[in-house]
Amino acid sequence: MKTITFTLNGRERSFDIEPDETLIDLLRRSNLTGTKRGCDTGMCGSCAVIMDDRAVNACILFAFQADGRTIETIEGVGDFDSPHPLQTAMADTGAVQCGFCTPGIVMTANALLRQKPDAAEEDFNQHLDGNLCRCTGYVKIKEALLSCSARAADKGDA
């Protein structure tokens, strides 16, 4: 056991970790279960969290790599009384079927929109290429994501 400290959803937190513990295991045992485990090999994106402004797969990240950094999980993004626009858009377009991939998609898209608020279709295609969804065929997801870009607002169809 060793102690690491990082900023988690805006608060500095310390954790005792095992050297080979992954970030997803640390988060989930800390009751942050919104980060989902879908493959454990970094290939499905349902465990996506934001580390220092970039979306990363928590299942292949060791907890020690988070030491001193800033981590954001779905729990820090929004709540019923203040959902993130991405969460509202996903819910309202029908982009949430089983919902298991949704937190990862929200986190990944969130990282993109922060970097590029007027993200275009190609940006979403590129940035979301690590998030598998088996339910929706991505059509409604794409619609939801595009509606959150400043580009959509410019066109007046947000």
Binding site: P19, D20, G42, N57, I60, F64, D129
Partner: protein
């Protein structure tokens, strides 16, 4: 991996000392994205080398100096005349992996489907190893076999140097895959330089369809000094294809792997030629 401890040095010297002290049990970790492919279960100590300040891209005298822990996303987002690795980085696995994976990690451990080594071979990159003294290996030497052979205890790959593309030169990179995030079945890269309408320099590299990424010397030789064009490229490829040992990955036959290479090499040569012509 069976990590029994981890270290998080912040200085290169400190990291090198740790690696020396720990010896065989040390495992440098930068992005950690290759761990899922590693089967070693012996107890190890992880040495986090992502905090050593080894990341960043600088242009020095026409050569890009790329820190070893520069992420693939940084390669992708870098935008400067003569910079071409964005074309490779954009085809690299998925966004969350690009955000963690580093150019160093993708170079020191080579898998058949690795992206960057193929491009670095075609670009004649220089690989800088920091040991008790610093030394530089050209990409062809570095990737001649699994690169760990080049490393002594405490050595780290610290920088990759890639010449900037100049006027009259072209570079292209392609990989064959089933979906946009698939492992490559055949990766090809070509660099080409024109003088007076003739090929003054050319490097062709392949990966995935061969056991280790490698150059295609016979193809290159057949092109040197020649007038470039689709017909010439096809001839050169047919003449030089059999120097490589073709190996089908992921359910494809060796014969088809060879066929893919024959098509893709012509494609990259055509594209590199277009760029060299300034089109």
């Amino acid at each position: 991996m069976n990590y029994i401890d981890f270290k998080s040095p912040t200085q290169l010297d400190e990291a090198r000392t740790l690696l020396k002290e720990l010896g065989e049990s040390a495992m440098p970790v930068a992005g950690s994205t290759l761990h899922v492919f590693l089967r070693d279960e012996s107890p190890k100590v992880a040495v986090d080398i992502a905090r050593l300040g080894l990341s960043g891209i600088r242009l020095v005298d026409g050569i890009f100096h790329i820190g070893a822990t520069t992420t693939v996303t940084a390669l992708h987002e870098h935008d400067q005349p003569g910079w071409v690795l964005d074309r490779v980085a954009s085809e690299f696995v998925t966004q969350p992996i690009r955000n963690m994976a580093t150019i160093g990690g993708s170079s020191v451990r080579v898998f058949p489907w690795s992206d960057l080594p193929v491009a670095l071979l075609a670009l004649n990159a220089a690989m800088v190893i920091t040991g008790d003294e610093e030394r530089t290996l050209d990409a062809e030497t570095f990737f001649a076999s699994q690169p760990f052979h080049h490393f002594a205890l405490g050595d780290l790959l610290t920088s990759v140097r890639v010449p900037a593309l100049t006027a009259g030169q072209g570079f292209a990179y392609l990989k064959d895959r089933r979906t946009s995030t698939d492992f490559s079945r055949c990766t090809v890269a070509a660099w080409l330089s024109l003088e007076d309408g003739k090929i003054a320099g050319v490097r062709v590299a392949v990966g995935a369809a061969v056991p280790m990424p490698c150059r295609m010397p016979d193809v290159e030789q057949a092109l040197m000094g020649a007038r470039p064009g689709p017909k010439k490229f096809e001839e050169a490829v047919q003449a030089g294809l059999d120097t490589a040992r073709w190996k089908g990955l992921h359910g494809i036959s060796d014969e088809y792997a060879r066929h893919l290479a024959s098509i893709l090499i012509v494609d990259v040569l055509n594209r590199a030629h277009q760029e060299a012509k300034g089109e």
